[in-house]
Structures are given as structure tokens and as C-alpha cells.
């Protein structure tokens, strides 16, 4: 029991977000099928079950349009914080550390330690890939989610069109329609605003005990300091 409790405690952050993710997507499915069925019934069509709903493109596009924007947010955040600084923000590196930094600072190649990851120890393509692996993976998930949004979005849009006795559209036609760009940009703007707010508010505000905040007594000008 003690071992299990220790494991739970040491993985609390990922477990917490995993549980609330499942709860939120379940809630999205339940409320989404109710909304979908309102449309079905008002169009004189039969309502569908929850199981049927979670296999629809209407549900998939609502899920993936949010996924792509979240992964884009993290992708941009990971890459932008390499090069851009913000005086006073704990989200920024120190003002003299912009860029990819030295091998010594990054503990790679001859500066690697005994417990450094294997791909960080020797120069070559593995080190190049591993040095960018976070943005590569987050970027890949972003592009796949955005692609999935465009495909499921075109199906959901065509389904609505035909329900309203209008012609369906192809995927390439859908990419030029306001529906695709409205879904995309309304998510992007909120993510960008949230990041900018965090970068700026964390200069002046504190959250005691959070690594996302500077220690409470740290001066506003202190940059690159995490709690």
C-alpha cells in the first residue's frame, strides 16, 4: 500500500490532469449528444444514442479543434521561450540566455553526465533530433489534430448542409470556407491571450508554492526565477 501511495503521490500531477480530462470529455459527449439531438428533432429526424454520437464527425471536430489549438499553444510556447525574453517573468529565461544555449549549459556531448539520456551523450543526428524532440512531438500532434479537425469538420459541415437540403462540400472546398477558419482562429486567439496573460501577470502576481510563479518575496524585476 505504501508503495502504491508513493507512486500515486509522485505522479499526482499527470493523474490529476488525466482524470479531469476524462471527466471533461465525458461531459462534452453527454452535453454534445443533447445538443445534436435538439438539432435532429427540430429537423424532423430521429435522435441518436451517446455511443453513436461519439463516433460522429460533429463530436470529433469539436474535440480536435480544441486539441490542435492546445498543442499549438505548447509548441509555440516551447519554441518562443528559446528565443524571446520577458523581463520580470518567471516564464522567461534570464535576460542573457536567449537562444539554444551552450553545450555546457545543456549538458550534452562531452558535457553530458552519467545519467544523461543516451541520445544526449554523443554528437550527431540523434543529438540534433533529441534536442528538438519536444517541439517535434508537440508539433506533430498539432498538425495531426488540425488535419483531423479539417477532415471531420468537412464531414460535419456537409452533414449540416444536407440536413438543410444543401449541397455537401469536398475537403479542399472546406479548407476555404469560413467555418474551418472560424473554428480554428477562435481557438487560437484564446490560447495566445492566455499565454500572453500568464507571461505578463506572473511578473507582478505570485502563487505561493507554484513553480509557475516566482517566490512571493521575489522582486518584480527578477527574471527567469521559478518558485
Amino acid at each position: 500500500m505504501t508503495g502504491l501511495r508513493t507512486r500515486l503521490e509522485r505522479n499526482g500531477l499527470s493523474l490529476f490532469f488525466g482524470v479531469i480530462f476524462i471527466a471533461a470529455i465525458a461531459g462534452q459527449a453527454v452535453s454534445g449528444v443533447a445538443l445534436f439531438n435538439e438539432t435532429q428533432i427540430s429537423a424532423g429526424l430521429a435522435p441518436i444514442s451517446l455511443v453513436d454520437y461519439v463516433t460522429t464527425s460533429a463530436f470529433a471536430v469539436d474535440v480536435t479543434e480544441n486539441w490542435q489549438s492546445e498543442f499549438l499553444q505548447f509548441l509555440l510556447y516551447i519554441v518562443a521561450t528559446v528565443f524571446f525574453l520577458q523581463r520580470g517573468s518567471p516564464e522567461s529565461k534570464a535576460l542573457d540566455e536567449a537562444g539554444r544555449e551552450s553545450d555546457e549549459d545543456q549538458l550534452v556531448a562531452e558535457f553530458a553526465t552519467a545519467d544523461s539520456p543516451r541520445w544526449a551523450r554523443a554528437r550527431g543526428w540523434r543529438l540534433s533530433v533529441y534536442s528538438r524532440s519536444l517541439s517535434l512531438v508537440m508539433g506533430s500532434i498539432f498538425f495531426l489534430s488540425w488535419l483531423a479537425q479539417s477532415i471531420t469538420g468537412s464531414v460535419a459541415y456537409s452533414e449540416e448542409q444536407m440536413r438543410d437540403l444543401q449541397d455537401p462540400v469536398t475537403w479542399t472546398e472546406y479548407l476555404r470556407l469560413p467555418d474551418f477558419w472560424s473554428r480554428t482562429l477562435q481557438n487560437w486567439q484564446s490560447e495566445f491571450l492566455a499565454v500572453a496573460s500568464m507571461v505578463l501577470l506572473s511578473i507582478y502576481l505570485r502563487e505561493r508554492g507554484s513553480p509557475e510563479s516566482k517566490p512571493v518575496g521575489t522582486p518584480h524585476e527578477a527574471t527567469g526565477v521559478e518558485g
Binding site: N11, S14, F17, G18, F21, I22, I25, A43, G44, L45, A46, I48, V51, D52, V54, T55, T56, S57, A58, F59, A60, V63, W67, Q73, F74, Y77, I78, T81, E91, L134, V137, M138, I141, S145, A148, T152, S154, V155, A156, Y157, S158, E159, Q161, M162, R163, D164, L165, Q166, D167, P168, A194, V195, M198, V199, P211, E212
Partner: protein, 147 residues
């Protein structure tokens, strides 16, 4: 939202994404696209042989109800009589559908003489609108439609 992601975060997110996509791509056992064309053809076969009951059996309940309300007679008679019957009879064509588009639970079958809209009802395709003419920037106008 703005903490720096770790490898553990990525692993958890990837796992969640995989589970989500498995759920999303699960097959729901929907009728095939060709079955939508078959329903449209069967409807016009019934019209061609003056079998109103068979034609009405291929309409959604809403389309049947609208047809009966508008004509103030049973669907079996309304679908063969008046302007509706004349229009449908003129459009009855044994040639196969030229285009079948399916998106989710809706389908559009383009015949040489007509455009038919269908929806999944239960486990089969049923006709929501038939005898349809396009209008620029607006929905099709159909002699039979349920809403």
C-alpha cells in the same frame, strides 16, 4: 496552461489522444453509401409502378407527415396524386445514380432527373426530401420534404 511540458506530460497526452482517436474511429455499423442510392432507386421504382405504400415506406416519418398534412390525405395517395405525384412521376428514371455523397448520418443522391436527400433512421436510409430543384445560395426546393 503555461507550465513547461515534460516528457511525462507528453506520454500522458499521447496516451489520451490514442484512446480518444480509438473511440472516435470506432465503427458504428452504419448502412453503406450504395444503400442510399438503392433507397432512392427503390422509391422511384415504387412511383413508376404506382405503389404509393412502398414509396411512403421509404420516407422518414417527418416527410410522410408533412406530405399528409399538405395534401390532407394519406401518404399512399398523396405521393401519387396532385402536383407531387405528377412531379415525381416525371422524374422517375431507371438509370443509376450519378453521384452519392454521404456525410455522417446524411446523404445526397443525384439522379439524372432528380436530387434526393436521405438520413439514417434506425439502421437504414430513409428519404428526407425528394423532387428537389437547386436554388442559388439557398436550400433546394423539394416537392416532398419533412421538417
Amino acid at each position: 496552461m503555461t507550465r513547461r511540458p515534460t516528457h511525462r506530460d507528453v506520454t500522458v497526452l499521447l496516451g489520451a489522444a490514442c484512446v480518444g482517436m480509438l473511440v472516435l474511429t470506432a465503427c458504428a455499423g452504419r448502412p453503406a453509401a450504395s444503400a442510399a442510392a438503392g433507397t432512392a432507386s427503390a422509391f422511384y421504382s415504387a412511383i413508376g409502378s404506382s405503389d404509393g405504400a412502398a414509396a411512403c415506406g421509404l420516407l422518414t416519418p417527418a416527410a410522410r407527415h408533412t406530405l399528409e398534412s399538405d395534401a390532407d390525405e394519406s401518404c399512399d395517395e398523396a405521393v401519387l396524386g396532385g402536383d407531387v405525384g405528377t412531379t415525381l412521376e416525371e422524374r422517375a428514371d431507371p438509370r443509376p445514380a450519378s453521384t452519392v455523397s454521404v456525410a455522417g448520418r446524411e446523404a445526397q443522391v443525384v439522379l439524372s432527373t432528380d436530387v434526393v436527400f436521405l438520413t439514417i433512421t434506425g439502421s437504414t436510409w430513409r428519404i428526407t426530401a425528394v423532387g428537389c430543384d437547386p436554388r442559388p445560395q439557398r436550400p433546394y426546393r423539394c416537392v416532398v420534404e419533412g421538417s
